[in-house]
């Protein structure tokens, strides 16, 4: 979760495994949009001597759909190259790394960035540096300053960062994957005899590799305008990330690899949890290879989500209304709107992020809605129009939002006669941003400073 190891194939290819994608109007510069997409789930900070890095043979894309057809109109493409300064040592670094070009850092990584509009590419940067991983006080003595050197200003008012960050997605994976045994409500769970307990943020202290891009709103819209009318169709863009590998890979007898052929997509991510909990296991690899334009094939799983049928079974007597809704095979038009088309005007006062009738899993961001001065981690469900599912901010509690939506809270938006179960609006795994050791940043790239291996110790005990 939200898309960590979410499909059988990509779970075996972590460098291409897109774990979270965020898109939001930048709170400290509302003329811009920040898009962050993470890879490499569950990086243990002490994972050396070959510390984590992006893959040189993976193509990382951020895709923008301006027209609502589920196809990318703009692609920001990142390609990485790793270098080795001293081929006679096994060490990642031969001394303290006190600057991003330190000769003590043996294995560096650089990247190029292109902006591709309908197939026509423009280079935005070459040889852009990544920071090293945070190793410890002997190797990376001032990591925040070191990582900040990798924040690069690009032409056109764009800013980019690619490198290690603290995992910002908080969730109690241990409980959720134990048959949905949410600790705050586990006394009600069919299989447990335990009393209720606080949630445990199981991703805390892990790191990820983030690609963060901040661009003017005008970079994303048709005609290069800065939207001001939340009700206008052109105020909304669809956003998702994807990763691709070459079609053919040959492992040579000397340990080297040969690759050839076009890039083919193996991972994608728009809405959190879509492939994780909406699609059945046997569809997940195929879904990862498709574009959002193909998502009508998965409409049936959104209309009738498996989890909506499981909640009344796992928590007997807690979700009678949801159980009746599911038993009647009522199509979940609310979830279809949230995940596949966007919410049209008239559902929530002052809000829409509708992109048209094409069913496509994308983060839909209404660029005309300014950042909230008092954000709610529950986004739209918390009365905050600038949060998920209007794009996604780093602190949004997408686990609770989606659990509550699936539990029936949002069905009342499309059927006024439906009264959600009292429990539906309280469902949570019990974790919040307060459970993160490393807090979010108020400025780009917003995700926190990754923990070093030296200071983290055994993850289970911290």
């Amino acid at each position: 979760m939200s898309s960590h190891r979410e499909a059988p194939a990509i779970s075996k290819d972590p460098v291409a495994d897109n774990t979270d994608t965020y898109a939001f109007v930048s709170p400290d510069d509302p003329s811009t949009v920040t898009i962050i997409t993470n890879y490499l789930p569950f990086e243990a900070p002490f994972g050396g001597p070959n510390f984590f890095e992006f893959a040189d043979d993976v193509q990382y894309d951020i895709n923008i759909d301006q027209t609502g057809d589920g196809k990318p109109d703009i692609v920001y493409r990142f390609k990485f190259t790793s270098t080795v300064a001293d081929r006679n040592t096994f060490l990642y670094n031969t001394g303290p790394i006190d600057s991003i070009d330190s000769p003590s850092w043996n294995r560096k990584q650089f990247y190029s960035l292109e902006r591709i509009v309908h197939g026509s590419a423009t280079s935005l940067g070459e040889n852009l540096p990544c920071p090293p991983c945070n190793i410890g006080p002997a190797s990376t003595p001032d990591y925040p300053a070191l990582a900040a050197q990798a924040i690069q200003s690009l032409p056109g008012g764009r800013t980019v960062f690619a490198g290690q960050r603290a995992e910002g997605f908080y969730i109690d994976l241990g409980a959720i994957f134990d048959l949905g045994d949410l600790r705050p409500f586990q006394s009600l769970h069919i299989a447990t005899m335990m009393s209720n307990a606080p949630g445990v943020n199981t991703t805390n202290n892990f790191s990820v590799h983030s690609i963060a891009l901040q661009v003017p709103k005008t970079d994303l819209t048709i005609g290069g305008t800065a939207p001001t009318d939340p009700g206008a169709r052109n105020s909304v863009v669809g956003i998702w990330a994807s990763a691709s590998r070459r079609k053919s890979l040959i492992h040579e007898a000397d340990g080297s690899k040969s690759q050839t052929g076009p890039y083919v997509q193996i991972s994608r991510l728009g809405n959190p949890l879509f492939n994780e909990v909406i699609n059945p296991m046997v569809e997940k690899n195929r879904w990862n290879a498709l574009t959002p334009a193909d998502d009508s094939q998965f409409l049936k799983y959104v209309k009738h989500p498996e989890l909506a049928g499981l909640l009344p079974v796992l928590y007997p007597g807690v979700f009678p209304e949801l159980g009746a809704l599911d038993k009647a095979r009522t199509p979940r038009a609310d979830l279809v709107a949230i995940l596949l088309t966007g919410l049209p005007s008239g559902i929530i006062p002052g809000f829409q992020n509708y992109t048209g009738s094409t069913y496509a899993d994308e983060l839909r961001l209404n660029l005309a809605i300014p950042p909230s001065s008092s954000p709610s981690i529950y986004g739209l469900l918390g009365g905050d129009l600038s949060g998920y599912p209007n794009g996604r901010r780093v602190a949004d509690d997408v686990t609770a939002i989606e659990l509550r939506a699936i539990a029936g809270v949002t069905y009342a938006l499309v059927d006024k006669s439906y009264t959600p179960d009292a429990a539906a609006n309280q469902v949570t795994d019990g974790t919040t941003p307060a459970d993160l050791t490393e807090p979010y940043l108020d400025v780009f790239p917003y995700l926190g400073v990754p923990r070093s291996g030296y200071e983290t110790g055994a993850l289970a005990s911290v």
């Binding site: 270098t83 300064a85 079609k247 076009p262």
Partner: protein, 82 residues
């Protein structure tokens, strides 16, 4: 050895190592002098016989895929694979 002295030892050692590998250090600043971590070698041309009966072969080259239909070639490759 005090903590400070030990730190200085590592730093000085690193400086010496950097001096011995001047070309590698230069590579940090000059992209054209860098040595990439992986030696990519030449990209092979791969022929994927997708359907021997129709002779459909996908030829992978560079970042491209070209589909050809050649029953004779597909048959010869199939015979070689036996």
């Amino acid at each position: 050895m005090s903590e400070l002295t030990r730190r200085r030892f590592v730093r000085d050692s690193a400086g010496a190592a950097a001096g011995l590998t001047a070309l590698g250090a230069l590579g940090v600043a000059r992209a054209d002098a860098r040595e990439t971590a992986e030696h990519p070698g030449t990209e092979p041309i791969v022929a994927h016989v997708k359907d021997p009966s129709s002779g459909e072969i996908a030829v992978l080259h560079g970042e491209h895929e070209t589909i050809i239909h050649d029953r004779g070639l597909a048959a010869r490759i199939a015979r070689a694979a036996r």
